[in-house]
Amino acid sequence: MFNLFRQKNSSGSDERTYAQLYRQYAKDLFSYGMGFTASREDCMDAIHDVFYKLYFTKDLSSVRNIKAYLLSSLRNRLLDIARNKKKTNPIETIKLSFQTDVTVLDSLISEEERKLMFCKVEKLLHSLSEHQREIVYLRYMQELEYEEIGQILNIHPESVRKQVYRALSTLRRLVAL
């Protein structure tokens, strides 16, 4: 579908494929964006901007994975918005804080098991750095490869692998206590 959009975009955009792209990926963008802000309005504004820019982007030939591309665009846009907000305090460097929120759906499992899993996963995520939590989210919820995660976070895929390794080592240490 993305390839279709890519072709059509260079000749003259097709609204139907564009709409399909939106329908497919808007939710993922929303879920990711809400990790950086509690404001639905700000999140939706950023998603608007990402798709708006996409519509007018002529050269998409270098994009291999559209989901990673969109999530990356969203992250950058949220960074820009945060940067603009902080204009009154220029000395601070801008860093995006990713917040995780664990929920456990209640089909298939008992209330007891649900509470158990909630506590375990919450505790585990709490022991990680924000950076590592973002990686877990992108891997577990968005099902992205290390390479794609690296693209979104602007780090080398090896760096992602190292972060995962370090996270697991932290956890082993916790368990050993």
């Binding site: 509690a38 007018f56 918005i81 305090n89 929120d101 995520l125 577990y140």
Partner: protein, 392 residues
């Protein structure tokens, strides 16, 4: 490896940290480990499969659009795309706060620290109680909204759209009506005025406003805390009335907070410009990044502040900069509508801390962060939270 007395059940796997790590990280190492495990223990295949399916119920940041949000956003997107195509211009438009003609301010009616000390050596922090739900009054009628995230949008024809995660309805309130929105403890709201100005309303706040602004001026009355982004209109001034002062907006983004009981109020200007007129008829001009605090008849202007500390509540977090525990508990009690019981002496309440608190939907997550930050521990029973020092 020791003799296993029984084959593990799915529940056993779910309690196993290695299993959890595997499902969350899916590292190459863990994939190989579990592949191997399955080869060595084929009798566990069913239990393992069940555990995997059960674990899939765990979601991180399971947020989604609600109701018409997704389609409305798409409509807005297409609208802007066609507007741009028609103008033959390429612009990176943000429908958010980057628009050039907005004044954003924060009105802080600072809530005094309500510390009640009942008979025993117990300290209680509880939010002021008035309404239970977000309530809107107009034309002598009151409308109660049970959903915690209800948002309101005024249209120029006297209609008001009320939406939340479940539904969206349109109320016809008339063009010459005064409305009042009451937001109790534990709730927050968002209001778009008839000129498009956006107001974020914090817990324990009220705002009175006309359904449609008159031809000469725009005004509203606020009790409590709001963050406002006021659209610039050269022809119409925007006035904000509080019981402690009046704000004359020229085009700003600001936060304001006023508390009647303690006669304390403040205004933080984010961008744009505004002036504050005190009850003694003094006019004070504010520049972006400045904080004005009014305490009775005294006032103080500061430029060395971190604006984000004052506006962060609207983005779902609290930023504390050497703040006493009592202040932190007060803010949380209003935001979540919970009461705190603290069995330490008063000096512990004045201990100061710095840090960020993310205001997730789950009060327990917030309490875990808070107690980690302050080296205390907590237990919760419904809406009452007991806090004790960690040495206990």
């Amino acid at each position: 490896m020791s003799e296993q007395k029984h084959t593990p059940s799915s529940k056993d796997f779910l309690q196993n940290d290695q299993f959890i790590e595997w499902r969350l990280f899916k590292s190459e190492e863990s994939e190989r480990y579990w592949e191997n495990y399955l080869l060595e223990h084929p009798e566990c295949a069913d239990a393992l499969q069940l555990a995997i399916r059960k674990f899939e119920m765990v979601k991180v940041n399971n947020n989604d659009f609600v109701d018409h949000e997704k389609t409305d956003l798409y409509d807005r997107l297409i609208h802007n795309i066609y507007r741009n195509k028609y103008r033959h211009r390429l612009a990176y438009v943000s429908a958010g706060i980057a628009a050039a003609f907005i004044a954003a301010f924060i009105l802080l009616l600072s809530f005094g620290d309500h510390l009640k000390i009942p008979g025993k050596k117990e300290i209680v922090v509880a939010p002021p109680k008035s309404h239970k739900n977000i309530t809107f009054y107009a034309n002598g009628e009151g409308f109660e909204f049970k959903q915690g995230d209800t948002r309101f949008e005024l249209l120029p024809d006297g209609k008001m759209i009320v939406s939340d995660s479940m539904r969206r309805q349109t109320l016809n309130i008339g063009t010459k009506t005064m409305g009042k929105l009451v937001v109790p403890a534990g709730k927050r709201s968002f209001l778009t005025l008839s000129d498009g100005s956006r107001i974020w309303i914090n817990s324990c706040s009220e705002i009175e406003f006309p359904s449609v602004f008159s031809a000469e001026k725009r005004e509203m009355t606020v009790h409590g805390e709001i963050f406002a982004e006021i659209n610039r209109d050269e022809t119409k001034q925007f006035l904000v009335h509080t019981s402690l002062f009046h704000i004359i907006v020229h085009g700003t983004s600001f936060n304001t907070n006023t508390d009647l009981e303690f006669s304390k109020g403040s205004v933080v200007l984010v961008n744009g410009s505004l002036s504050v007129k005190t009850l003694e008829d003094q006019t004070i001009q504010l520049n972006p990044g400045q904080l004005l605090t009014i305490n009775g008849t005294d006032y103080e202007k500061r430029t060395d502040i971190n604006v984000e500390e004052y506006t962060c509540w609207k983005d779902g977090k609290f930023i504390f900069n050497v703040a006493p525990l009592s202040t932190m508990l007060n803010k949380i009690s209003r935001y979540y509508d919970v009461s705190f019981r603290f069995d330490q002496d008063l000096t512990q309440m004045e201990k100061k801390y710095s840090g960020k608190l993310y205001l997730s939907e789950n009060i327990d997550s917030v309490m875990v962060s808070l107690t980690t930050m302050t080296s205390t521990s907590f237990s919760r029973k419904g809406k009452t939270i007991f806090i004790s020092g960690k040495d206990n």
